[in-house]
């Protein structure tokens, strides 16, 4: 589904990513771990199009996407969340999700101006879908609250709901459990498994090994921009290179 | 139609000095606050009029001032200090309340316009809208003899002062503790205050220096062109903007180089016979620079600064 070939990203001579190779098979949940500053977020940025690799190829479903603009990548079926939550704080929870459905709407300015029946139908359809998504993440009760006022956990969940609103085939989750307690983390793990069950491929960047163990089929380990190991979660944990990379590290 | 190249070079050089002098303060405020301070041109006019009042006293209100009450070497520093104080007051009134609550830059731009309108109109109420000048002979104005080109002492003075202040400012920013503090504040206000920098005082100092530079520029304009009105800053304001964009927003050397470059473009578009679209060249350059290289000639990558 997603293949990265020799992807490098340099910032003014400093290599954030170096010849990264990665294969994410269709329908799997793949973990991406590594110490802070290993280049995990840069990698996600390159896949989602916010950043482009200095060299190498990123192929999604047979289509090279490393030089595409982000909105076109999203249209192909890639969606993501952010490590530091980036919601539209001045919009309501519901509106955040509806914005996420942008590519599935067709109504234009003229439609809405002349109150085309088509526009109403589309609006109510989008709203229904969005509410369903909110229910799925248990935040339906705060649908009409400004996103900026939501609790931290709800904001995290809303971000995932919004990512799913684009109806992606591949979801990139950037530390979805940061700042969550064990119970919340576990619930989130179940949400990820539900996505998996729906046939969505997931790449999840995490520090929480419990979650990785809970959801991932395969784990990649990134250290100083280089992919140092990959394999099943249990196997990777034993890998001496990984232990070395994490030496002295809490996780 | 041949061109008097040496004379036009002199024209360009000293006009460049004036533009740079005006743009220095503009650039300083931008580098520290990331703020376009459109009241800079009003402070500039204030400087000129503080100078005039120091030089002539109450006489300026009634008639044309005919002789200096105080020597010129007192008048210039007085204008600089006066403009500096005005500049700090503008900061306190127009920017500080907004900065305190992290208002959008756009609001600060508008409040700087409000401050400019207030200042310029106050000047008009006190001094009238008609043009004023420094007394004849405030500074020797006869061309330096024995040269193939016409160049007057005031032109040389303006150039020397512009370059001198530029070097002084450069040393201040790069070498001194104050300069370090300014750069830290410019980088990140919160980090600076965590590092023990008195952020507010740094802003005040920056505004004072910028104001003093504007005051010096105002004095040089007043002395050189003998035509001061409360509105004298208006036409320079946009030129100054072009200058700092060309040089690189917030870069001090950039402001100077930009100043000379803009002056050269203006003078030579006139010299080549297109004085009617002289300003079009300037703004076209501004436009192209922004599209091609938004950080200007010497600017660092401060793309996301506002």
């Amino acid at each position: 589904m997603l293949e990265l070939h020799h992807v490098s990203r340099e910032f003014g001579g400093l290599a954030a990513l170096c010849q990264v190779k990665m294969v994410v098979p269709q329908g799997k949940v793949v973990g991406l771990i590594g110490p802070n500053g290993a280049g995990k977020t840069t990698l996600l940025n390159c896949i989602s199009g916010l950043d482009s690799p200095t060299s190498g190829e990123i192929i999604f479903d047979g289509t090279p996407i490393h030089s595409r603009s982000p909105h076109r990548i999203t249209a192909l079926g890639v969606s993501r969340t952010y490590q530091n939550i980036r919601l539209f704080k001045e919009m309501t929870t519901l509106e955040n999700v509806i914005v996420g459905q942008h590519i599935h709407g067709r109504s234009t300015l003229l439609h809405s101006m002349f109150v085309w029946p088509y526009h109403w139908r589309e609006e109510s359809r989008l709203k229904k879908d969005a509410l369903a998504l909110l229910e799925r993440f248990n935040i339906g009760s705060v649908a009409h609250v400004h996103a900026g006022t939501l609790s931290y956990g709800d904001q995290r969940r809303l971000e995932m709901a919004r990512a799913l609103a684009t109806r992606p085939r591949l979801v990139l989750l950037d530390e979805p459990t940061a700042g969550m307690n064990a119970v919340e983390t576990h619930q989130l793990g179940e949400q990820i498994l539900r996505m998996h069950a729906d046939g969505i491929t997931v790449v999840v960047v995490e520090h929480d090994m419990a979650l990785i163990g809970q959801v991932c089929d395969e784990v990649y380990v990134l250290n100083f921009g280089e992919m140092i190991a990959n394999g099943a979660p249990q196997a990777v944990k034993q890998d001496p290179k990984v232990i070395e990379a994490y030496l002295g590290h809490e996780d | 139609m041949d061109i008097n190249v040496p004379q036009q070079l002199v024209n360009a050089l000293w006009l460049g000095g004036l533009y740079s002098l005006f743009a220095l303060g503009y650039a300083l405020i931008f580098s520290v606050l990331g703020l376009l301070n459109l009241s800079h041109s009003a402070v500039f006019a204030c400087g000129a009029f503080v100078g005039l009042y120091t030089a002539c006293g109450d006489e300026v209100f009634t008639t044309t001032c005919t002789e200096l009450d105080r020597p010129i070497w007192i008048v210039i520093p007085a204008a600089m200090i006066g403009a500096g104080i005005v500049s700090v007051a503008v900061d306190r009134v127009a920017f500080w309340p907004l900065r305190k609550r992290n208002a959008p830059r756009m609001n600060q731009l508008i409040s700087s316009i409000g401050a400019a309108a207030l200042l310029v109109n106050l000047l008009q109420i006190q001094f009238g809208a008609a043009q004023q000048r420094f007394p004849f002979g405030s500074i020797p104005n006869d061309p330096v003899s024995g040269l193939p080109v016409v160049i007057t002492p005031i032109q040389i003075t303006a150039l020397v002062i512009a370059l001198g202040l530029m070097f002084a400012l450069r040393i201040l920013v790069k070498r001194t503790r104050l300069g370090r503090e300014m750069r830290t504040v410019a980088f990140n206000e919160r980090v600076a205050s965590l590092l023990g920098v008195n952020v507010d005082r740094t802003y005040m100092t920056a505004f004072f220096i910028a104001g003093a530079l504007a005051g010096a520029a105002g004095m040089m304009y007043g002395l050189a062109f003998n035509s001061m009105t409360p509105f004298m800053g208006e036409s320079v304001s946009l030129k100054g903007l072009t200058v700092i964009v060309l040089g690189g927003l917030g870069s001090i050397e950039g402001a100077v180089i930009g100043g000379f470059l803009i002056a050269a473009i203006e003078v030579f578009s006139v010299a080549l016979g297109r004085s009617d679209i002289r300003d079009a060249f300037v703004f076209l350059l501004l436009f192209v620079i922004l599209v091609v290289r938004p950080r200007g000639l010497l600017g660092q990558g401060v793309e996301d600064r506002a």
């Binding site: - | 024209n11 000048r133 062109f225 035509s227 009105t229 509105f231 004298m232 010299a271």
Partner: protein, 408 residues
């Protein structure tokens, strides 16, 4: 049919206007003692005239002297009882700002809130184009005292509306040909350089007039340069012009730019004549220009050094009242107020329609500007002057003064 009616109306207007008021000043009558019309008897206690001048912003440099000119005239008129015993003339001022919108608002407000005999102003020609139709549509006479743009008094589609629009400011097109012929004659000009402000309607029409007059006088223009309003440095343009070694530099500028142009031309070593238009006609020229202004030739509608009794009295009283010498803006506004008052006196009515007719009938009226009449398109007719700056004063340009200035 419509045209026919209109023609008849216009003709009637013209007839009515000319016949009963064809009066001229008597010999020896100064301003305030004009006995061409009897002392009016039917005027109310208060007669109001409006004035729209730019009093805020940088336009105040022109609007302020205009206001003073009108104030002075009104004070004199009341003191002399010019409108008859028990009748006071009141001038209501309204700030016309510096753009069309503000002048429209000012004119509209003035007319709505006052019963006006006439309006004086607005300051700029562009403002007049915007605001004068409002006065005309309301049947109020408007007298421009500083509008010099071409076609101002014939701006409306409807000629009847035009009948209400007057001006006493001699357009550049009347002043400049005279200036050029006279200075060519006296100084023997053959090649000149021209510099003008190309972003201002006043300086641009000045330039047009200069260009035409120079062509008519067969003077070669070796170089034409432009500047923008608010510019302070003119050395590049002047360097170009001086480099071509012209016999004279012709400048179309307002006083704010005129002074630096003159100063910088002299600084660059140019000693020949500099010729300017109405915009130069301000005491600021030699007050600010000092020695550099010597030898500057100014074609204008009014000469501050004019020996005429009215002009001398005006200059003296103005200087005494305001502590500064009047400029042309003040003189024309002062004259405007007197013209309006005269029309009110002659019409013996404060009704604007009557005032209009009386104003149109003014012929050979003695004013500080000279002997003054309106022509059939309500434009001023009087002799323009050509002056030269000498020893810090305006003097009339003659063979002698020219010889003194340029040592020929």
């Amino acid at each position: 049919m419509k045209t026919l009616i209109r023609t008849i109306v216009v003709l009637t207007f013209a007839l009515v206007a000319v016949v009963p008021f064809q009066v001229q000043a008597q010999d020896g009558g100064g301003m305030g003692a004009w006995d061409g019309c009897p002392v009016p008897e039917n005027l109310p206690e208060e007669v109001t005239i409006g004035a729209v001048f730019g009093l805020s912003g940088n336009i105040a440099a022109y609007g302020e002297p205009q206001k003073r000119g009108v104030e002075l005239a009104v004070a004199e008129i009341n003191e002399a009882g010019y409108l008859g015993e028990g009748t006071t003339l009141i001038a209501v001022f309204e700030d016309g700002g510096s753009d069309g919108e503000a002048s429209i608002a000012a004119m509209d407000k003035l007319i709505a809130e006052n019963e006006l005999a006439a309006v004086i102003g607005p300051t700029l020609s562009a403002q007049a184009f915007a605001a004068d139709p409002i006065a005309a549509e309301n049947g109020v006479v408007v007298l421009g005292v500083s509008n010099t743009a071409a076609g101002l008094t014939t701006m409306n589609e409807d000629e009847e509306l035009d009948q209400f629009i007057f001006r006493n400011s001699l357009p550049e097109a009347n002043v400049i040909p005279n200036t050029i012929t006279k200075s060519t004659e006296i100084l023997g000009l053959e090649r000149v350089g021209v510099i003008y402000g190309n972003d201002d309607d006043f300086t641009l029409s000045g330039y047009d007039a200069f260009a035409d007059a120079l062509e008519a006088s067969e003077v070669e223009v070796v170089r034409t340069e432009t500047f923008a309003r608010g510019d302070v440095d003119f050395s590049p343009q002047l360097t170009n012009i001086i480099n071509d070694d012209p016999d004279a530099i012709v400048v179309s500028a307002l006083i704010a730019e005129a002074v630096p142009v003159v100063l910088q031309a002299r600084q660059l070593g140019y000693t020949g004549p500099i010729i300017g238009g109405n915009g130069f006609n301000s005491p600021a020229l030699f007050a600010q220009g000092g020695e550099a202004a010597e030898g500057v030739i100014v074609g204008a509608a009014w000469n501050i050094g004019s020996p005429s009794e009215l002009s001398v009295t005006f200059t003296e009283t103005f200087t005494e009242a305001y502590g500064a010498a009047p400029d042309q803006f003040a003189a024309q506004a002062y004259t405007g107020a007197w013209l309006v008052a005269t029309a009110i006196r002659c019409a013996d009515s404060a009704d604007s329609a009557d005032v209009r007719e009386a104003l149109a009938a003014i012929v050979d009226y003695p004013t500080p500007l000279g002997s003054f009449s309106f022509d059939e398109t309500r434009n001023p007719v009087h002799e323009p002057v050509v002056q030269i700056v000498q020893e810090g004063m305006f003097k009339l340009l003659t063979e002698e003064t020219a010889a003194q200035a340029f040592g020929e």
